[in-house]
């Protein structure tokens, strides 16, 4: 995992994820669990890391590798908020808005990010395709309000003033 931009463009034709090295990486997990099904969350992560989101083809591919139906996988994937079942910007920004961060002004940080990214509204992708911004629930860094995640990079104690500088690192 890294804060790097997602490798694939969301509209690019689907290339199988579980081939070669990635397949070996997934299969290396099999002996760690008594069931293949237990590798579902790791497999979803792998598809998302490769594609930037989890397209239906990715779900089908996981189904074949793990012996699960697409409907089952969808039910699981939609339970977890970090899996993107729709394309998002190259950088997905999560801003904590739960009470402790709200008390410390997370609203202002969120507003600054929405403006600076050009997203303007939650869930929308910026016109240049760079960013999608979400207000999320507790990121577990309440003492370092306001935490902001950009893909897998974790920034804490973010103030509205720091926002442009942070965003400048993600092109």
């Amino acid at each position: 995992m890294s804060g790097a931009a997602h490798a694939a463009h969301p509209d690019a034709p689907y290339q199988p994820v579980f081939v070669g090295e990635a397949r070996a990486k997934l299969e290396a997990l099999f002996p760690l669990y008594p069931t293949k099904q237990a590798c579902l969350l790791p497999a979803l992560w792998m598809v998302q890391e490769a594609r930037g989101w989890i397209p239906p083809e990715g779900i089908a591919e996981i189904g074949t590798v793990l012996g699960l139906t697409p409907a089952y996988i969808r039910g699981v994937a939609t339970f977890y908020t970090m899996y993107h079942l729709h394309p998002v910007g190259r950088y997905f920004i999560q801003v904590c808005g739960t009470s402790p961060c709200h008390l410390c002004g997370s609203d202002n940080v969120l507003r600054a990010i929405l403006t600076a990214t050009g997203c303007n509204e939650l869930g929308a992708t910026s016109p240049d395709g760079r960013f999608t911004v979400a207000e999320v629930e507790c990121l577990g860094a309440c003492g370092f309000a306001t935490p902001v995640m950009v893909n897998d990079d974790f920034h804490d104690s973010v103030t509205p003033e720091q926002v442009p500088g942070i965003l400048a690192r993600y092109l």
Partner: protein, 523 residues
Amino acid sequence: MSDLVNVTIDGVAIAVSKGTTIIEAAKQAGILVPHYCYHPSLPSPAVCRMCLVDVEKAPKLMPACVTTVAEGNVIHVHNEKSKKARESVLEFLLINHPLDCPICDQAGECELQDYVFQEGRAETRYADYAKRYHPVEDFGPDVLYVANRCILCTRCVRFMENVADEPVLNVSERGDRAYIGIDPDHELTHPWSGNVVDLCPVGSLISKDFLHKARAWDLDKTASICPGCTQGCNTMIDTRDEVVVRLRPRPNLDVNRHFICDTGRADYRWINRGDRIEAPLARHSALGARHSALGWDAALGRLAELVGAARRVVILASGRASTESLGLVRRLVDGRTVTAAIQVPMGGEAPLAGIPNLALRAERVPNLDGARLAGYSTDWPAALAAAKTADLTIVLDADLTDAEAATLGPATVVIGTVDDDRVHGAALILPTTNMAEENGTYVNRDARVQRYFQAKAAPGMSRPAWWIAAEAGQILGGGVAPATAAAAFASLGSSIPALAGLTYAELGHTGRVVSPATAGAAR
């Protein structure tokens, strides 16, 4: 008696076996614990929280569906505490419910409607907010999903996952955004998937076939047996104004638990056919081989004559004929050289993975074993060949091919339901009832004798075939004919030892297994 546990439920003292859940123990005490997600044929997730009951000394209300009884439990299903909890669950379930009962097929047989009527609040406290809205989704050949009515009991998901073993449904999203999702590339095409409609306690999963066909309270319900195959699933025939509009499973834990297959469920239109033989018809050579209608007295007399004169007789019978009809038609020709066979159309097997010994069977007739007991073979070609040289051929509602019909000569009696001009050469055509128009029994593949009941009026002058045969037999000196199906069944014992001594009363609504050895031989 250490395997029994003594409990008191709403003041009723009862001893139940160890390991029984409160909900089942209450059932035995004659008390219904209101519930949604619980279903005796599915694993219990205890999520609807409707069945919470007050168990004395327990720290909080307990879910009756997963809590097993303990010695000395005093349980209150209908005290204030339990009722208040249910009232609250109902209120929560209703806040986003569209309350569209006037256009909902489930109205009248809806558990949400019923329990709200019994125990719900009179008015809403959610009046000022918009309700959740999802469009109606097409889930497959015969199922629509009306998400707005869904209470997320997950019975449908569990059925497809744990019973059908084809998890194409899921719970998607979470919190109050959750809904039942379906694999976009895979509809509900599993051969047993129609059961999700019955399992749905509300009007969320509905049948396209039944859509807006009838209001539940206009339906007459009759216990029956599915005539689709040798499994003998117990069914309920729903009729509206003498027209069958729906078949649904009727619980029988030993045969089909709570399910029927989609093939059986869909196969009812033939019962409503209008092109029926309405009166006995006899062929008169003097009239240029035309048929003319007769009264039953004359018709039965003619039948007795034909049988009385015959030495070699062939019976070509439908596998849907009742044991009573097969037995008494066979008895009518006793003392002659008889070749009797039933027709057994074949199809593919479709088992229901989660229920042992439950499948749509390859032999697509309901009474194969009853016919065997009554002395019929399944060697249809041999019987057809024998018919060529017989003095008399009796066709008992068999569905003949053109070629088969063409081999039948004038020495033929047809006891049939549907008018068929290919057999107009027959000497006598007698109108009979189909299985929804008579009382009778079928014997399933496990030698279970099961009753079915008359669901609609018999058309015209049609009579059950057993009545026709017995009346003709009486004319031939065979003793007093039975007047009812029950009497006809009781009389079978004299020629079919396996049924000796059995009565309709003993068969009840779930049947009785006779002579398992016979059933073994049947396969």
